[in-house]
């Protein structure tokens, strides 16, 4: 059993130059059979395994990862955490997630640096202002701590904001969630991995799933690059690559994979102490504890598995942010990258059973995956453990598309996640 992390264990280990730290997680060989297999060791997959073990006592679990854990979108996002959505199902899952983030570091004894520094969403047209007012009223009645703020209040929260009423898209107000913020994305994956590993979950990296074994209408296991592994329950949590896996099981998905890009600036002394989103001009930004400005843009308009997006997709975002925050102009772009996101027809996720018995799928988080990791893992683990949708997952079933029961957040003035 791993010693707990603390300032004291740090001090103790400092005495002999940190030579006695144990592995954060084991590197086990796959067993022949597990009670449950999770495909994909991103945040969502690891959280699912963690809660299967912690909440449901199902510890004979393997998490299979093609590459290295946390190497997909979990390690490529802009780390925004918020729950101020419009539709009830969205509020439910994202607020569960946000509230779990509040105690996550303590829960698995790994500092994920959850930083509720506040999320400020700018309203830059009358229509957007109206839409956010509607969201604000809905959120208040749902019990969320959110409020509309005036341009002046917004500038107090974010002094570098340009609130000149004459600019192209003047800031008419903003929607503010004080307990939204950011977290350290890698730490979330590593903390879940360490926590799951400590509870007996096998995290098997560099193990690619090449086939899904079926016995008639139900799954019996998976074929992998490290041999076949049996399991009666399989959870697919592979984001942009979900179609590839589900095709192996013969289940067609309402998913398209596109490249979402993000970028960071050079590190500068703190100028932004919140997360700011400007949806009219499609840009959002925060500042990491390292000092980089972390900026997210939109997705390419075409399917893309290359993890390299097209430059124009970012140019517009940067131009928009420079217009809203003029001091950005002389700062410098340090690094840009792309992640393959899974976009559904209504841009809301899928947490669902499938037509194949024992096969479960959790995908479609698109541009909003990081903030939802704890909640997604929580309800997906419950769904797998009990072989029925968790109450919060019900709205996110695959069947909603045939029923026309969409969960459309874009109605709230095309709010980016």
């Amino acid at each position: 059993m791993q010693p707990r992390y603390s300032i004291f264990s740090l001090a103790r280990n400092a005495l002999n130059y940190h030579k006695d730290w144990e592995r954060a997680w084991r590197s086990p060989a796959p067993k022949a059979e597990y009670d449950a297999i999770i495909i994909g060791a991103g945040g969502h997959g690891l959280a699912t395994a963690y809660y299967l073990a912690k909440n449901h006592g199902i510890t004979n679990v393997a998490v299979l990862e093609k590459g290295w854990l946390g190497g997909g979108n979990s390690g490529r996002n802009t780390t925004i955490i918020r729950s101020n959505y419009l539709q009830d199902p969205s509020i439910a899952i994202y607020e569960l997630s946000r509230s779990l983030y509040e105690d996550l570091s303590q829960d698995f004894n790994y500092n994920v640096m959850f930083s509720p520094r506040g999320v400020l969403m700018l309203c830059q047209t009358e229509h957007e202002l109206r839409a956010f007012k509607r969201t604000a009223h809905a959120n208040k009645l749902a019990g969320l701590d959110c409020r509309m703020v005036s341009p002046q209040e917004a500038k107090e929260i974010l002094p570098i904001l340009n609130i000149d009423p004459q600019c192209r898209y003047p800031v008419l107000g903003a929607y503010y969630q004080p307990r939204g913020g950011t977290g350290r994305h890698d730490a979330v994956c590593w903390g879940y991995a360490r926590g799951a590993d400590q509870r007996g979950v096998d995290i098997i990296q560099n193990c690619e799933v090449t086939g899904i074994m079926r016995d008639g209408a139900r799954v019996t296991g998976v074929e992998t690059t490290r041999g076949p592994i049996k399991a009666k329950k399989i959870g697919v949590v592979t984001a942009g690559h979900v179609t590839t896996i589900m095709d192996m099981a013969g289940v067609r998905m309402p998913i398209e994979s596109q490249c979402l890009q993000a970028l960071v600036s050079e590190p500068i002394k703190p100028i932004i102490d919140c997360v700011v989103m400007a949806n009219t001009v499609h840009g959002y930004m925060s500042q990491s504890d390292k000092g980089d400005l972390v900026i997210g843009g939109g997705t390419d308009s075409y399917n893309n598995y290359s993890q390299r997006g097209s430059f124009p997709a970012l140019e517009h975002t940067i131009a928009a942010l420079v217009e809203t925050f003029p001091i950005l102009s002389r700062l410098k772009l340090m690094r840009m990258w792309g992640g393959i996101v899974d976009m559904t027809g209504d841009r809301s996720p899928i947490i669902s059973k499938t037509p194949v018995d024992g096969l479960f799928v959790n995908c479609g988080w698109g541009t909003g995956g990081f903030k939802s990791i704890p909640g997604s893992g929580w309800v997906f683990a419950d769904t797998i453990a009990n072989d029925r949708p968790h109450p919060i997952a019900e709205a996110f079933g695959l069947n909603r598309f045939a029923e026309g029961r969409f969960i459309d957040e874009s109605v709230a003035a095309a709010v980016a996640h």
Binding site: S306, A319, R330
Partner: protein, 1004 residues
């Protein structure tokens, strides 16, 4: 320490006849034109430039150019301040003001240095293990402290006064890098007639040829380079870019070059020329001649000011005539560094060489020996004395792979030139997925395969011998030109006579043993800016962060502003040694754009201020401005929201405009309204597919209101359709929807009903269109000498006539969005202002006044007319808003029809549009307020719907609201509760048509 270090002679780059004065941290210093800031500050006797990121250790210059990650400074002041500039690239100019970064209160005394004293507590990734208790401390204590320490430079103040621009060009061949390889490749391609762009990040071409020993045709290679560069400048088909860094390579050979036009001379941007220019080049062929970057050696305290890369030391002496110190040690594992020893000796600076190899008997070492330079082979530096600068070193005996010091001796010195070999600069190779292969000879990665039309030549490819470089570069240039111009004939280039001392192989050394038991507590840096040491990398392995991506993220190795240019391979090597893997087994992290940090200004280009998103203007926009209208953005337009008279409050002016429409007559600029002509034999049939209601049955000269759905069955847009004749329709759309609907019609026509003979022509900008609304509207039209009968009988509601008003050609649609007698009059855009003025003049006796969008919205709300986007939100069906009457039952198909049958779209409890009367008529419900099934004393409360529009109606003298409420139409008369902050507003459900239900005012 502050003794001037300028040598009495030498310095190929500087002009000793022109002095330049500048300040560093407020201290007045002087240098020469041609100096870099790094050289000039060192010439003034200072080598402390900044503090490192984590431990705040004192740091000096380490590198030669863009790879520098220690000497980052702030340049300029106020709105023209630029943080994190590399002192090795900042060119000196009169009055340059530079400041060091990340120190408090001062560079030499920095309280942050306490982190170094405590560093034993702060190994890689330490923060993941602590700061967790008590919970609230993270946000309020730990993080604020960490954030305060975060970052390097400070942001500028205010809006950037400088401008930026972008250029899009096509080129046959883009050559990246202007060293001898790049010059040779460019020349070879150019003489064959290819359009060549050669870009180099430095101010002058030639790369480091001036620091190398090889000769071409009997002369120093730098002379050949100078001549070759001149030929390129003179060639018509070659564009030479200096101070221009190729920052990125994307799909289909999209190459981005960031040119620093004005950084070296503030007069340039002040004169209005751009500060930076971003070149977006589409290249048929790309040739990477980016050279190689020298790497350091990891030894204890290898970060002290005064420790520089060997090539950088050579450049200090030979280019700038600056002595790095009085007594130096060259620490190397290869022959090239001996050139530095020789250069120092020649400049009269005492130097000895420490070579980790057992033998150093190559041509260059022999030359060094002959010059009387002491060489200690089989040796390493095991310790460095001095904090703010090197004071002495310990030299220990060493055999390959030896991990501990057995014997060592002290040696005095005040600077160290270190060389651990060279890494091909293959970053751009990887931007678009190029593969790397590990080269045993170089002990480094070099370009492997690539799917794009891109090749690497010279040191960038791992080719190090001058003769091979030149041959390879010329061949690549020729081949590139051939691909671009298949017909071009290979031109004969004169053969070159090349001579160069042969190099003996280097011997990799990833870790130099250090004084002290088991190297404990010693810091062998591999990432200087982020203070990542070999021990940190080993800790990451020990804890299971074995994937190199995990190691990187856990320790922040390679994540500094240089993105691992200098120390990356040292780290990989150290990991390999620690884990017994080979370096390829360790793997490497992806290089991503940009190659060097690139200003957001350059990426924005000219898309700022007015050009960010240009405003679309109607033909009478100027008039609105003149009258001091308050505007609101609508799509790309800005429409008059209201026209306050001097000092008038917005609400007052809006109420005035509304009542004037109800009592007299108002005029609205409706030109932004989308207008699309749909013509052709099948136009009617086509529109039947597009609209929920029947359009083919519309009679010529008549108008019909229509709804368009998307394929999901939800309302997408609405507007009045007019039929001119059998084959010609005019489709009106919402202002925001005009472009979308035009594209929508085209798409269906081209991709689904391809057999329809129909043309779709957007004509929004071709017509100015004004709504004349109010009981006296007809009098206004009549006063303008219409060529047509305006009587109710001749021109009834929902009819159309084309003719003239006086001299002006007009189309008149008798349609109404206000519920009043109303005409929308369209005239060709160039007559727009004339018609507007004529209407105001003719209307004056009737009390005509312009009204804005807000009055328009209130007027329509009083009538219960919906606005797409207010009463609908993309999940709203026609039935939801009470318009199921507009959904044809007869038509077998129209867009969205089938989806209306999906279970959820015909569910019983959907939200339906209703009107609301608040109990207190003064009380105006806020937009978006939600009604609840049951009021509780605290949330959560289940909501049953929300307010879509809410106004104080001057016409009815009370508040009105429209709302979408579950089963709303079944709740007529019910009282709903809307919990708001601290109170609950109650409102009665009523019919959404508040005014003139029978429409009497329309039919007059």
């Amino acid at each position: 320490m502050s003794k001037p270090r300028r040598l009495s002679s030498g310095g190929s780059r500087i002009d000793r006849s022109s002095r330049v004065s500048f300040t560093f941290d407020g201290k007045l210093m002087s240098g020469y034109r041609g100096d870099t800031l790094a050289a000039a500050v060192m010439a003034n006797g200072q080598r402390l430039f900044g503090r490192s990121y984590k431990y705040h250790r004192p740091r000096g210059v380490i590198g030669l150019g863009s790879e520098e990650m220690n000497a980052l400074v702030g340049v300029g002041t106020g709105a023209r301040h630029e943080p994190n500039a590399r002192a090795t690239q900042v060119e000196l100019f009169e009055g340059l003001a530079a400041v060091s970064q990340n120190r408090f209160p001062s560079l030499s005394f920095d309280v942050g240095a306490i982190n170094n004293t405590l560093s034993r507590l702060f190994p890689g990734g330490f923060y993941y293990k602590t700061f967790m208790w008590p919970k609230v401390f993270w946000k309020h204590i730990y993080e604020p402290v960490i954030r305060k320490a975060a970052g390097l430079g400070v942001a500028p103040e205010g809006r950037d006064p400088d401008s930026y621009e972008q250029i899009h060009v096509h080129a046959d061949v883009v050559v990246v890098g202007g060293g001898v390889a790049g010059l040779a490749a460019a020349e070879a391609a150019a003489v064959m007639g290819a359009r060549v762009i050669i870009a180099d990040e430095n101010a002058v071409l030639g790369g480091i040829s001036d620091l190398e020993d090889g000769t071409i045709d009997g002369a120093p290679q730098a002379e050949w380079a100078r001549a070759a560069a001149q030929k390129l400048y003179d060639a018509e088909n070659v564009h030479v870019l200096t101070r221009a860094t190729v920052v990125g390579h994307w799909h289909h050979n999209y190459v981005m070059i960031a040119e620093r036009v004005g950084d070296h001379d503030p007069a340039i941007p002040k004169s209005g020329a751009p500060r930076h220019r971003l070149w977006k080049v589409r290249a048929k062929q790309v040739i990477l001649a980016t050279g190689a970057l020298e790497r350091p050696i990891a030894f204890a305290n290898n970060d002290r000011p005064g420790i520089m890369l060997a090539t950088a030391v050579r450049a200090m002496v030979q280019r700038y005539g600056v002595a790095p110190g009085e007594q130096g040690v060259v620490f190397t594992n290869n022959d090239d560094a001996y050139l530095t020893a020789l250069a120092l000796k020649e400049a009269g600076i005492a130097v000895q060489v420490v070579d980790s190899r057992a033998r150093a008997d190559g041509a260059l070492p022999e030359r060094a020996r002959a010059a009387g330079i002491a060489i200690s082979t089989g040796s390493v530096i095991s310790a460095v004395k001095g904090k703010l600068g090197v004071e002495a070193v310990k030299i220990a005996s060493y055999r390959k792979g030896q991990g501990r010091v057995v014997s060592e001796r002290s040696a005095p010195c005040d600077f160290i030139a270190v060389s651990g070999g060279f890494n091909p600069a293959a970053h751009l190779w990887c931007h678009n997925g190029g593969k790397l292969t590990f080269d045993e000879g170089l002990q480094s990665y070099r370009p492997g395969s690539h799917a794009d039309a891109i090749v690497a030549v010279g040191a960038a490819k791992g080719t190090m011998a001058l003769a091979d470089i030149m041959a390879e570069a010329r061949a690549a240039g020729e081949a590139a030109a051939k691909v671009a111009l298949p017909k071009a004939k290979a031109a004969k280039l004169a053969k070159l006579a090349i001579s160069e001392d042969a190099r003996k192989p280097l011997e990799a050394i990833w870790f130099a043993p250090a004084t002290g038991k088991y190297n404990e507590g010693n810091k062998h840096f591999v990432d200087f800016q982020h203070d990542v040491t070999v021990a940190d990398l080993e800790l990451a392995q020990r804890e299971g962060y074995e994937s190199i991506e995990h190691t990187k993220r856990y320790t922040t190795f390679g994540m500094a502003t240089d993105q691992g240019k200098v120390g990356n391979l040292n780290g990989l090597g150290a990991i390999a040694e620690a884990t017994g893997k080979t370096i390829p087994e360790v793997g490497f992290t992806t290089f991503r754009p940009p190659y060097t940090p690139t200003s957001f200004g350059a990426i924005t280009g000219s898309l700022t201020k007015k050009l960010f998103l240009p405003v679309r203007q109607t033909p009478v926009f100027d008039w609105h401005m003149m009258k001091g209208a308050v505007f609101e953005p609508v799509g790309q337009w800005r429409r008059p929201y209201t026209y306050p008279r001097d000092g008038e409050d917005k609400h007052v002016s809006i109420a005035r405009e509304i009542l004037n429409v109800r009592n007299n007559v108002g005029v609205l600029d409706a030109s932004t309204l989308g207008k699309i002509e749909v013509k052709g034999p099948d136009a009617g049939a086509f529109l039947d597919r597009i609209y929920t209601n029947m359009m083919s049955t519309l009679k010529p000269g008549r108008c019909r209101y229509g709804l368009t759905l998307n394929e999901l069955g939800f309302i997408m847009d609405d507007g009045v359709v007019v039929r001119f004749d059998d084959e010609r329709f005019l489709v009106h759309t919402t202002s925001g929807g005009a472009d979308r609907i035009a594209a929508w019609l085209e798409e269906w026509l081209q991709t689904e009903w391809t057999d329809y003979r129909v043309f779709v022509t957007p004509v929004t900008e071709q017509w100015a269109q004004f709504a004349v609304a109010g009981p006296r509207a007809r009098d206004v039209i009549a006063a303008l000498k219409p060529s047509f009968d305006v009587s109710h009988e001749a021109l009834p509601h929902m009819s159309f006539v084309e003719g003239t008003l006086g001299a002006l050609p007009v189309r008149v649609y008798r349609i109404s969005f206000s519920g009043e007698l109303s005409y929308e009059i369209a005239t060709p855009a160039n007559h727009g202002r004339a018609l507007w003025d004529a209407l105001l003049q003719a209307g004056a006796p009737h009390g005509i006044l312009p009204y804005g969008t807000e009055a328009l919205h209130v007027l329509r709300a009083e009538k219960g007319y919906i606005v797409v986007g207010d009463e609908t939100d993309g999940t709203t069906t026609p039935d939801d808003v009470g318009l199921s009457g507009l959904v044809s039952k007869k038509k077998a198909d129209f867009i969205g029809k089938r989806s209306l049958e999906q279970a959820h779209l015909k569910a019983p409890n959907r939200k339906q549009l209703v009107g609301l009367y608040t109990e207190n008529p003064e009380e105006v419900l806020p937009d978006g307020a939600h009604a609840v099934a049951e009021v509780k004393d605290k949330p959560p409360m289940k909501t049953i719907g929300h307010v879509t529009s809410s106004y104080l109606s001057p016409t009815l003298g009370r508040s009105i609201a429209m709302a979408l409420i579950e089963n709303g139409r079944a709740r007529m008369g019910d009282v709903l509760s809307f919990p708001l902050d601290g109170k609950v507003v109650r409102a009665t459900v009523v019919d959404p048509v508040f005014y003139d239900k029978e429409g009497a005012r329309l039919n007059v």
